[in-house]
């Protein structure tokens, strides 16, 4: 087993190196293609589409489609082990699939690289707008400038709480972040081995969700220029809040999300809550079955009276440049992400929490969940989903910025600097990385 793992690692490194080589050899010509919408003509006869994704069981969903549509056959490839590496290499080699799963936060980056084709010439594509939760469409269409992707799933955030622990120490479940901090202090005072939650310094995606909730609009695009405002007052408020919790030792910083250590800490009743997303409901159910009935899911604590929520994760299915079958791609993509039958199967097999309005009403998402005391937990997520800021946008070098942010957050967690410093680092990195790629940008405000 151990050798298999080393082999795998080696192979991955080798794969990365060699595929980079491959990409270097092949001639990629991206001279002509501009961002104008591609024509939308149905093909004559049978077509086969390539669709890359990371969703467990997606091949079964596609089988369903293939059975119903003999003339539009779809082939899937699972790229869960190196999603953006595989996709990036394929793009460089001019062998991108017709459709690919792309996370919301990677859309601007790939768009800057001219990786998408605008499907807005297809009526069905533009008409799909009303089928999706507003913020998802806003991000997939870049504020309505085209149709580059269809939203697939989302991660509306909520607070997972161990009701039994709160009850035991007679602490009310917090509704605002202020109450959350007070409750954290109370719990920690009552039992010094107990903390409210953990702050994972190596999870920028999660932290971005918290910033999003506070309407920290980090990026905007106007006059052919990016305005970078990572270090806004809203983000500083979030950073200072968590910095205080860390400094007061009210949250742990030694656990990584989803790690064995994290589950062990929850198992030992050392942590009372979890700031998570909709897709996370199965994590606890499957890894901590003995805590069935002890968990509840409530709305995210809010900033004062503003009821806004945040999103953590989720993906779109993007129309990739080079596709010769845009018309068919739109047909399949729309079905895949808004047809109730498809959505139900994706939710069942892949654990996707749908971005489509129809998906939020799925039977499976309107029932009580036994693990959570038969509470209708998905009502909480659906409510959260509709309270997410629609004007939030990601930057074109988000991944680089996330890495820098994580780096600085890890230092802050270790007592070197603060989370506010980490934001400053992220701001500087955002500007520098965009300058390096010759993307016009200025610091906002």
């Amino acid at each position: 087993m151990s050798t298999t793992i080393t082999r795998t690692r080696l192979a991955v490194v080798a794969a990365a190196a060699s595929i980079a080589l491959l990409a270097g050899c092949s001639s990629s010509d991206d001279s002509s293609d501009k961002t104008s919408a591609a024509p939308c003509e149905p093909a004559k006869g049978k077509v086969t589409l390539q669709y890359w994704n990371t969703v467990p069981g997606m091949d079964k969903v596609v089988d369903l489609w293939n059975k119903k549509n003999p003339n539009i056959q779809v082939e899937t490839k699972n790229i869960s082990n190196d999603q953006y590496g595989t996709l990036g290499n394929a793009l460089k080699a001019g062998k991108a699939p017709d459709l690919s799963q792309v996370g919301y936060d990677e859309l601007p980056n790939l768009r800057t690289q001219n990786a998408f084709v605008d499907a807005s010439a297809c009526k069905e594509a533009t008409a799909a707008k009303s089928k999706f939760v507003p913020w998802t469409w806003s991000q997939a269409s870049f504020g309505g400038t085209g149709v580059f992707a269809m939203p697939q799933d989302t991660g509306p955030m909520a607070l997972f709480v161990r009701s039994d622990i709160f009850k035991k120490y007679d602490v009310a479940v917090p509704k605002t972040w202020d109450e959350y901090e007070a409750a954290a202090a109370k719990l920690h005072k009552a039992d010094s081995s107990l903390t409210m939650t953990f702050f994972d310094p190596n999870n920028a995606e999660w932290f971005n969700g918290l910033l999003w909730q506070n309407k920290a609009e980090m990026y905007s695009y106007a006059d052919n220029k990016w305005q970078v405002n990572v270090e806004s007052d809203q983000s500083k408020q979030v950073a200072e809040y968590w910095q205080k919790l860390i400094s007061d030792k009210l949250v742990r910083t030694d656990l990584a999300n989803g790690s064995t250590q994290m589950y062990a800490a929850y198992q030992k009743d050392q942590i009372a809550s979890y700031v998570g997303a909709a897709w996370g409901y199965s994590m606890f159910r499957d890894n901590l079955p003995k805590q069935a009935g002890k968990w509840s899911i409530v709305p995210m604590p809010t900033w004062g009276t503003d009821g806004a929520s945040g999103d953590w994760g989720g993906s779109t299915v993007a129309f990739m440049k080079g596709s010769k079958h845009l018309y068919e791609s739109v047909k399949f993509n729309t079905w895949l992400n808004s047809d109730p039958e498809a959505l139900a199967l994706e939710n069942k097999l892949g654990g996707l929490y749908p971005a489509a309005n129809a998906g939020l009403k799925l039977p499976a998402l309107s029932q009580g969940v036994p693990y959570y005391n038969n509470e209708k937990i998905f009502d909480v997520f659906a409510d959260s989903s509709n309270k997410i800021d629609t004007s939030f946008a990601w930057g074109p070098t988000q991944k680089t910025v996330n890495l820098a942010l994580q780096d600085a957050m890890a230092k802050a967690a270790a007592g070197d600097g603060t989370l506010t410093d980490a934001l400053a680092k992220a701001q500087a990195t955002a500007l520098k990385s965009m300058k390096d790629q010759a993307i016009p940008a200025t610091a906002g405000k």
């Binding site: 080696l10 192979a11 080798a14 794969a15 990371t54 969703v55 091949d59 890894n287 892949g350 996707l352």
Partner: protein, 285 residues
């Protein structure tokens, strides 16, 4: 006077060697022990119980889930791996034996040069060849088929090397001469005379090839896209990449890993007698 001291010395050194071996055995067996323990646990106890201690025994349920998940695709992967490894190793061994025998027993121009080239091939790691092979196969249109993994698997420069060394040592020239005198053709001579004498070496080559193909990961990863063609290694890797979305896959990956090492262990135990002879013979010459 000197006698007891030498005995004691040897006893000391023997104990030291045994202790070292014992430590090494623990070092090598611990991961397998962990694998066995982890494969018997339900997902819910993987993270929450001690990794090296048994808890709720759930192996049979894990196996049932493993083999029924995604319409039993794991069974398909096992089948594929067996096809790749058994057929690949068998054909590969035969080719190696023929080449080695020819290089050892026939005099022809450029023989030593050819042999040097083959020896050079031993130095090229298969990983480095995967990508050029991909480009070749992609041009020929056999990417994403059984052949894409099978064809590269039957080539083994090291096997040719071993076969030549062994044919040189184990097959006396006189025997071949007499077979020829009796009117046997070259192939008949090879299959009914030389082949049997080379058996220990051939088993060694077979084992080497079998294990190499069984554990091969990179080549199938480069070549294959269809899940139904995957070997176990690639399939488990793909599942492992999805555990963030489907936590229950983790237990299947672990159980699947355990299942995947069982055939290799069985083959080793069955063939170890030959294996040792072959190794020793190879090292002597």
């Amino acid at each position: 006077m000197s006698n007891p001291s030498t005995i004691r010395e040897s006893r000391v050194s023997r104990t030291a060697v045994m202790a070292l071996m014992f430590l090494l055995a623990i070092y090598f067996l611990l991961p397998i022990y962990f694998l066995i323990v982890a494969a018997t646990k339900p997902q819910g106890e993987l993270a929450s119980t001690n990794g090296l201690a048994f808890s709720h025994f759930n192996l049979f349920d894990n196996l049932r889930v493993l083999f029924t998940r995604s319409d039993g695709v794991f069974g398909r992967w096992v089948f594929n791996t067996v096809i790749y490894a058994v057929l690949g190793a068998a054909v590969g061994t035969l080719i190696s034996a023929l080449c080695g025998y020819a290089l050892a027993k026939f005099q022809f121009r450029g023989r030593e040069f050819l042999f040097s080239v083959i020896l050079g091939g031993v130095l090229v790691p298969t990983t480095a060849l995967a990508l050029p092979l991909f480009l070749l196969f992609s041009a020929t249109g056999i990417v994403n088929t059984y052949l894409a993994v099978f064809l590269p698997s039957i080539v083994s420069p090291f096997g040719v090397y071993l076969a030549r060394i062994f044919a040189n040592a184990a097959v006396p020239q006189e025997l071949i001469e007499s077979a020829r005198l009796d009117g046997a053709g070259e192939f008949r001579t090879f299959f009914s005379v030389a082949f049997k004498m080379m058996t220990p070496a051939l088993v060694t080559i077979f084992l080497f090839q079998f294990v190499a193909i069984w554990n091969n990961f990179f080549l199938p990863m480069v070549m294959l896209q269809k899940e139904s063609l995957f070997p176990i290694t690639l399939g488990l890797y793909e599942w492992n990449g999805q555990t963030a979305r489907a936590p229950l896959l983790q237990e299947s990956v672990i159980t699947g890993s355990l299942v995947s090492i069982v055939p290799v262990i069985i083959v080793f135990i069955l063939l170890q007698r030959f294996w040792r002879t072959g190794l020793a013979a190879g090292s002597l010459r």
